[in-house]
């Protein structure tokens, strides 16, 4: 097993310590950081995403894998040239107003980051005006909203309306998710897509970029 395989395995196994160890070893062996990222760390998260969709692993494994990957990426960043750091797209993420749940959103962020997206995480309890401001300032291609309560779900529609009012709706694609959210609800409020879970969110986000 070469060192890139070991980096991949350490992420898949969810070992932060091994991810750090083998990423450093790869750097010491003068493997280009972009290669370590694109041939080991990112594919490892891709594999975890596939296993999650096949129900061969679950959220705890994804969290550990994402943490291991983030540790490896943090080690690479100082060594990466600007060109290597270009994300495939930028996404603004947030849990809507009145809602403090963040595990799902955080996992989506980790998976998207693992897939090459740049994440702007607005946190929780995010009012519509904060999403609007973020779109104005950050120029993302995507906006992702999470809600875990039936009482906070309506803020997704209100946020979309605020983005429309601000003349920003056409600049972005919007995906929504969270336990009470359904694809039907996403359609009704005018979102572009619905993500059933963190792994499918990556697939959905990528497909939105293609359309």
């Amino acid at each position: 097993m070469d060192v890139l395989d070991q980096v991949r395995e350490s992420v898949i196994e969810g070992s932060k310590a091994d991810a750090l160890k083998f990423t450093q070893q790869a750097l010491d062996e003068n493997i280009p950081p972009a290669t370590i990222l694109n041939q080991a760390l990112v594919p490892a998260m891709g594999e975890i995403g596939k296993r999650f969709e096949r129900k061969e692993c679950f959220v705890p494994e994804m969290l550990l894998a994402a943490r291991a990957m983030q540790a490896g990426v943090a080690l690479l960043k100082p060594h990466m040239v600007e060109a290597d750091k270009q994300p495939i797209a930028k996404i603004v993420l947030g849990t809507v107003k009145g809602d403090m749940h963040d595990v799902g959103k955080n996992l989506v962020g980790m998976m998207l980051e693992g897939a090459g997206f740049e994440i702007v995480d607005l946190g929780v309890d995010v009012p519509p005006e904060k999403f609007v401001q973020a779109v104005l300032l950050q120029h993302p291609q995507l906006v992702g909203m999470s809600a875990l309560l039936t009482t906070t779900m309506p803020w997704m529609g209100k946020t979309i309306a605020s983005l429309q009012q601000a003349g920003l709706r056409d600049r972005i694609k919007i995906l929504v998710g969270g336990a009470p959210v359904t694809s039907e609800y996403a359609r009704q409020i005018g979102a572009d897509a619905y993500g059933a879970d963190a792994a499918s969110a990556v697939r959905v986000a990528k497909s939105l970029l293609e359309n």
Binding site: K16, P60, L64, V103, T151, A179, T182, E184, Y185
Partner: protein
Amino acid sequence: MTFAELNLAVFRGERTGRVLWQPRLEYWYNYNLAAGTMPPHLQGMSLYDLYDYCHASVRYFTKPLKRKFKTVQVTETWLDEQHLEIVYDTPVGSVREIFHHDEYKLSPYRSEYPIKTPDDFKIFEYLLRDQEWYWDQPEFERDLAAVAGRGAPQFYFPRCPIQRLFIQLMGFENAIFMMSDYPDVVGHYAGVVTETDESMYRVLCDAPISILNFGENIDANMDPPSIWRKHLVPYYRKRSAQLRAARKFTHIHVDGSFQPLLDDLRDSPFDAIEALTPLPQGDASLEETKYAVGDRILLDGIPAIYFLPLYSTETCIEFARRVIELFYPKLILGVSDELPPDGDIERVRLIGEMLETNRY
């Protein structure tokens, strides 16, 4: 037959010809009261008046299991309008948690958990060994008198060690990382909880109450089969056996994703499962829900979103009929998991009327 008698009859496996309607209305009632959005025709009603309006039984109305500390000092301080800090001072150190309250102070959420580092577990161990459990009989009798037969007394009590860690003590993400980085520390903690919970279970076994709820808030995203089988089920088997020997009926609260746990739930040691939420809100079909419940009783079963304007009243009622068809007589019908504040109370009443008049 009162709702309380019907409630117990279901657990005893009796076919009464009736389906007990037991939606949880407390949050709907308290939120709409606080927000000033109570429908005009319901204004002035008490919570129990609302239950009567809906022809519904009350599930949770008493919590006579109490805890006190021998030496630990507990200090509560409002940091601002929304944030309540609770500090537990022990001779070996202090831990702090902060609750974020919404504007109506009905739905607190931990914005800071008490256990943050491996060293905090030592402080928490002191806390666990310092606590004493007791039964408040006068309060129990007052609650029984107030509910006046609208339901059989039952309540939920502290969670199993790992669920407590996930939900109350560390938060899910940090707990997963702690379990991975310091498995011995977490294993020791789980052992101390199991040991110190014995006194609580003695009180529960001796209590004049027949039904007890494991308020675990199970979600397969948090508790996939690997965690369920290794960390949760051994505890549940031990405790269920204790309570069964004391002639108690038990149910467990499973209010999240459960499709990956179908076989495990079917094999679980409880008499009933509460709050299972089928598609389209949950992740398993009604038929899969039936498989998971097996020979047990289902408490609830109608997804909460069916009470929202997003779906028609006909859809809601039809789903209720399907649940009854599939689960009666092993059924206490309700909303999975509670009626949300924007839910249509008239649909709740409609189902209650239907169950008052129909026999099965």
